[in-house]
Amino acid sequence: MEPISHAFKDNARRGLADPNLQRALARLKTGFQERRTIAAARLPEFEALRSQAKEIKDRTLANLDFYLERFEAKVRETGGEVHWCQTPAEAREAILRICRAAQAKSVTKGKSMVAEEIALNPFLEANGIEPVETDLGEYIIQLADEYPSHIIVPALHKTAEQISELFLDRHRQYGNTQRLEEVRELVDEARRIIRPRYVAADVGITGANFLIAETGSTAIVTNEGNGDLTQILPKVHIVIATLEKVVPTLDDAATLMRLLARSATGQELSTYTTFSTGPRRADDLDGPESFHVVLLDNGRSKMLGSEFQDVLRCIKCGACMNHCPVYGAVGGHAYGWVYPGPLGAVLTPFLVGIEEAGHLPNASTFCGRCEAVCPVRIPLLKMMRYWREREFEAGLGAPALRRGLALWAWLAKRPALYRPLTALAIALLGALAPRRGALAHLPLATGWTRDRDLPAPEGGTFQARWRARQGRGARTAA
C-alpha cells in the first residue's frame, strides 16, 4: 500500500471520532494488557528469558551473514530453495516466477506482515493470480479492501456488527443470505467458505516467525491452523521472510517462543508452532512438493550498524502497540502504513522515509510502557528521539515548532538568561491561576488548552528547588 503516514493528524482525528474503533480499542486494556501481565507473572523466569532473548538476537545480528549463509545451505540440503531479494519489487517478481512455474491460478496466504510490506496481493491480482487470505482477521480486511490496523490482530478495528454486514454483502455469491449475529456463526461461515480454497490453491504462501540456521527450517506461529492448511495442501510452499528472522538454533527459537505468545496475547504458547523443513520427503503422503524461501532485505542490512539496529531484534509480538496510550487512542490506521504503534514509529520512517513518516516518532508521550513490555528490550524511546533529531536536522517539521525549538536551544545554552526568564514565566503563570491551579485558556498555547487544562506551576523553578535541596543535603551530611 501507498503510505499515508504524512496525514497522521487527520487520520488520528478520524480515529478519535470513530465510536466503533473506540469500542474496539477499549478492549485492549482488559484483553491483551491484563493477559500479558498474568502470563508474565506465572513464569518466574520471564525477565531472565527477556534478557537471554535480547542476547540471542544481538549475537545473531553481529554474525548475520554467517547465519544467513548457513540457513541457505541447510535449506538446499533439505531440498528447498532460497531466493535472495534486495527490494520489494525483486521479492514480488521472485514469488510471481514461482507461481507461474506452478501455473498457479489461486494462492492461499497465511498472515504475513512482510507480504503487506511488499504489497503482494495487488501485484498478484494484477498478474491474474487470486490471493486468498486465510487468517480470519486478514480475510476480513481483504473482503473489506482495507489494511491491517494491528500486526497480530489485523481486523482489531472492526466490530462484530460491521463484520456481519460485510459477510452478508460479500458472501451472497456463495448463496449465503442470512445476517449472522453471533461471533461463533461468523467464524463458522468463514471456515466453511475458506476450507475449499485451501484444497483448490496451487501455491501456499506463509510468513515466518523464525528461520533456523541449524536446520534450514522456517517456523510459523498461529492460533487458527490456517498457516498449516496453507502449506500442507498446495503443491508449492513459499515462505517470505526478512533477514533478521534468522536465529542460530532450535534451542534459541524455544527461548523466543516462551516470550512471543505471552507478550502478544498472554497465551502460554500459541496453539500451533510449526517448523517446516524442505519439501515433502519421497514417501510422505502429504505436504508440498516444492519449498521456497524468499529472503528479503528491504533496508534491514542498512539498519544493521546504525542507530536503529536494535529494532531488528523485534519478534513482532505487538506488545508495544497493545500497551501504547497513543495507539490505544487513535488506532492502527492512523499510522498510515503496515506497522503501527511504537514499532511503526521507529520502523516506518526507515522503510518509507522520514519525510513521509515524520509525525510517527512525534506521536508519543514517551511514557515508556512499550519499552517496559518489549520482550527483546528494544530501546524504542531512544530511537524515536533519533528520528526527531534527524527530522529537525533535515529541516522538516512545522515552522512554528522549529522556531520554538531553536529559541529554546538558544536560551537553554545561556543559563544567566534562562534562570531569571523561566522564574519570571512560572511566577506569571502561577499568578494567572491563583486558586484553581490550572489554566483553561492561554494565549500562544491554544493547541494545548483547546482540549485540556494546562496545570499552572507552583513554587519556584526546578533548578532553584534542586539547588535548595542540594544545599540542605550538604548541611545534613555535614
Binding site: L49, E93, Q267, E268, L269, R281, D284, L285, D297
Partner: protein, 239 residues
C-alpha cells in the same frame, strides 16, 4: 529455478556485502567462524523454566493441567487394552461419527482396535470429508501442555489439521518437561537415509484445539483446524 536465473546471484552477493559493510568486516574466518560452527553443530539449551524440570509424575500432571487449560480434553487409561474403549466412549459422548482416519503408524498397532468393531478405521492421510482422526505423537511437553508431532510416511500432517476432531494417543513415558527435550530427541534420532538433516518435513507443536480471537478479541474454538483435541495418555501412575 536456480539462484542465477532469478537474478538472485547478484542480490545474494549484494545483501551479504551490505551486511558485512554494516558489521565492518569481511566474511568470518578462522577461530571466530569455528566457534559459531560448533555452536550450530553441538547446540546447547538456554534457560529452561523450573516448571519444565519436575519429577516425571509431576510433569505428567502438569501436562494434563496445561492441556486442559487450553481446552484440550484428556483421558488417562492404565493399559493398551483399554485404549479403543476410551476412544469409543469419547466419540459416543460427543455424538461423533465412528468412521475414523488413523495414521498408518506402527506405534498405534499396539492397541487392540479390533476389539471395538464399531470403530471403522481407515489408515492413511486425511481427506476433506474425514471428521475424526487418530494419531500418535513423538512427545507431550509439560510446560505448556503441548504435543509434538512429526511428519513421515506413516504420520501424514493432514491428520492433524483437516478433521474437526483430532484424537492423539501417547504413553505417559512420552511426556517430558521442555521443548528442548524434543529437539534433543529429534537430533538423537538423526537423519533418515537420503535426507539432508534430522528435521522431518513438518514438526507441529500443538497446544489445544484451533482457535481465533480475531473478532472483537472474543475467543472461539475451531477456526480452521480441529474444533476438538482429545488426548489419551496410556500408562503412568494415575491410570
Amino acid at each position: 529455478m536456480s539462484a542465477s536465473d532469478t537474478g538472485g546471484g547478484n542480490a545474494r552477493a549484494a545483501i551479504l556485502g551490505s551486511v558485512r559493510k554494516a558489521l565492518g568486516r569481511g566474511p568470518l574466518a578462522g577461530a571466530a567462524r569455528e566457534a559459531l560452527e560448533s555452536g550450530l553443530n553441538d547446540p546447547a539449551p538456554n534457560l529452561i523454566p523450573a516448571r519444565a524440570q519436575l519429577p516425571h509424575a509431576a510433569q505428567v500432571d502438569l501436562f494434563v493441567a496445561m492441556a486442559e487449560e487450553v481446552k484440550a480434553s484428556v483421558a488417562r487409561v492404565g493399559s493398551d487394552a483399554g485404549v479403543p474403549a476410551v476412544v469409543a466412549d469419547y466419540l459416543a459422548q460427543h455424538n461423533l461419527p465412528t468412521d475414523i482416519v488413523m495414521a498408518p503408524d506402527a506405534a498405534l498397532d499396539a492397541y487392540p482396535w479390533a476389539a471395538r468393531p464399531l470403530l471403522r478405521l481407515r489408515r492413511g492421510k486425511a481427506e476433506e470429508t474425514d471428521a475424526v482422526s487418530i494419531t500418535g505423537a513423538l512427545l507431550g511437553i509439560a510446560e505448556t501442555g503441548t504435543l509434538l508431532l512429526t511428519s513421515a510416511a506413516e504420520r501424514p500432517t493432514t491428520l492433524n489439521f483437516l478433521p474437526a476432531t483430532h484424537i492423539v494417543v501417547l504413553r505417559a513415558e512420552q511426556i517430558v518437561g521442555a521443548y528442548e527435550e524434543g529437539w534433543a530427541l529429534l537430533r538423537r534420532q538423526g537423519s533418515p537415509p537420503g535426507d539432508g538433516g534430522f528435521m522431518p518435513r513438518t514438526v507441529n507443536l500443538i497446544t489445544g484445539p484451533s482457535r481465533t480471537a480475531d473478532i472483537e478479541q472474543r475467543m472461539q474454538l475451531g477456526a480452521h483446524g480441529p474444533r476438538q483435541l482429545h488426548i489419551v495418555i496410556v500408562g503412568g501412575e494415575e491410570g
